[in-house]
């Protein structure tokens, strides 16, 4: 049970135990005895501490160190009903279950007051039996709930430890079609390297785009994977690079080849386009 905000001394139950007050039981309460004064707000909070009529009953029983199996129904009923009446006097909204329980208690009490038959028949059950069964059943789950609350709880007592999957798994490991930034970076390297060869004479004849397309396809026809840079013959200089680059763009566009790269700065590979489900 959660901690009540009401000091023990002002609990209405203590007041109810007063014999004088017992006489008002059953009558309509218009005025509370002075020693019974409880701030209305506090009473509402107090009621919030109970999970229902069974919980309130358990409280009344436990408070007097009584065994559930042997509830003094009359006494408990008197306390319970006094409690309920207090609530009503104070205009506190009571769940219907509380009133239902009051009726049930009153019924049990009246049945117990009936004279017992001289020879008790087997079928006749103690009127309290059902209530006792319910109280016991409720109490064990109330205890179970407390036990569960004590278990180490994730996010409160237990914190899971995780690590990021390997970087490769975060990046597109599948082929992708020309991430421009990556492609350009690779191009820049190629340009830099070919710049050193600039002084060579460019043989125009060898630089047909058509021919370059064919050459690349031929080089990749058996499914080899070739490093991107290797497609650029350094001897052809800048123009050769441009023609080869255009050929690559064209082949990419036609989905005849694909480029692969595991991460930034990793080598880019070129291979025949493999059909993969998008």
């Amino acid at each position: 049970m959660s901690v009540s905000v009401i000091p023990e001394s002002v609990l209405p139950i203590d007041a109810v135990n007063d014999e004088n007050f017992a006489r008002v039981y059953g009558e309509i309460l218009t005025k509370l005895p002075e020693d019974l004064y409880i701030p209305p707000d506090a009473l509402a909070v107090f009621l919030d501490d109970f999970e229902g009529p069974l919980d309130l009953l358990l409280y009344l029983i436990r408070k007097q160190n009584l065994d559930i199996l042997n509830i003094p129904v009359a006494e408990i009923t008197r306390q319970y009903i006094t409690y309920i009446e207090l609530m009503q006097v104070l205009n506190i909204d009571l769940a219907a279950e509380y009133l239902l329980m009051a009726a049930l208690l009153a019924e049990i009490k009246s049945r117990l007051l009936l004279p017992k038959p001289a020879v008790p028949s087997d079928e006749e059950e103690d009127p309290r039996a059902e209530l006792i069964r319910r109280l016991q059943e409720y109490e064990r789950f109330k205890k179970a709930a407390e036990d569960i609350a004590e278990l180490p709880q994730e996010g409160r007592d237990v914190f899971e430890a995780h690590a990021e999957p390997p970087v490769r798994d975060l990046l597109p490991s599948q082929p992708f079609f020309g991430d421009f930034a990556l492609l350009l970076d690779a191009m820049r390297d190629v340009m830099k390297r070919t710049a050193l060869q600039q002084s060579h004479v460019i043989g125009r004849e060898g630089l047909s785009l058509e021919q370059r397309l064919q050459e690349i396809i031929v080089r990749l026809r058996f499914g080899e994977t070739i490093i991107f840079h290797d497609l650029f013959p350094a001897s052809e200089g800048r123009l050769g690079v441009v023609v080869t680059f255009m050929a690559i763009l064209e082949l990419l566009k036609q989905k005849m080849i694909e480029l692969l790269q595991d991460s930034f700065f990793a080598p880019i590979y070129v291979r025949q386009y493999l059909e993969v489900a998008e």
Partner: protein
């Protein structure tokens, strides 16, 4: 090709850490190709070795319902919990009682929970339990209205560091009605001071 013990151990370690959920033995086993396959026993023995290797670290490798996970040792919680400025909301008694009834009595309908608790179970509570993925609907009771049958999930067990439902704290024994009636016969109405 048979992988070295050390490599396999590293793979298990990495996989358990990288997995967003606890990792079961079967899930660990599928990481290896046919020619690298290991028996359950071998995997378990390697996991044991890993547990020993982490003895002096801030973490422990534990088994919960859905498998193995690493978690920060409880003694460091006071500091670790400061990473979250708002404390996790306390579980209300109403929620805990409802959860306890579902856990111990599953599968169970909402009406059955209400019968035990003696009050209406609020929709918010049921919703909160679903939101945490602690409970699921496992079927319907074949009575008028076909009410949903509720049961707890693996995630519920994981969240409370339990391997199985049998690890739940035992439910208090109930004294049977026979003995109740016997005891009551000894108690006369007069003794109760009615």
């Amino acid at each position: 090709m048979k992988l070295s013990r050390q490599l396999v151990k590293n793979i298990i370690e990495g996989a358990v850490f990288a997995s967003p959920m606890p990792l079961g033995l079967e899930e660990i086993a599928v990481l290896f190709d046919d020619d690298e396959k290991l028996s359950r026993k071998e995997l378990q023995s390697l996991i044991k070795e890993l547990q020993t290797e982490y003895a002096l670290r801030a973490l422990e490798l534990v088994e919960v319902a859905s498998g193995y996970r690493f978690q920060v040792r409880a003694q460091f919680s006071p500091w670790i919990s400061k990473m979250w400025p708002e404390k996790p909301p306390r579980l209300s008694r109403a929620l805990l009682e409802t959860l306890a009834i579902i856990a111990y009595r599953q599968p169970v309908t909402r009406a059955e929970i209400e019968a035990i608790r003696g009050v209406v179970v609020s929709t918010q509570i049921i919703k909160a339990l679903f939101d945490r993925d602690w409970i699921v609907v496992v079927g319907h009771r074949e009575v008028p209205g076909r009410p949903a049958l509720l049961a707890t999930t693996r995630l519920f067990l994981d969240s409370f560091s339990l391997k199985s439902l049998s690890e739940l704290p035992p439910l208090a024994a109930i004294r049977d009605l026979e003995s109740i009636s016997r005891e009551m016969e000894n108690t006369t109405v007069e003794q109760q001071k009615i």
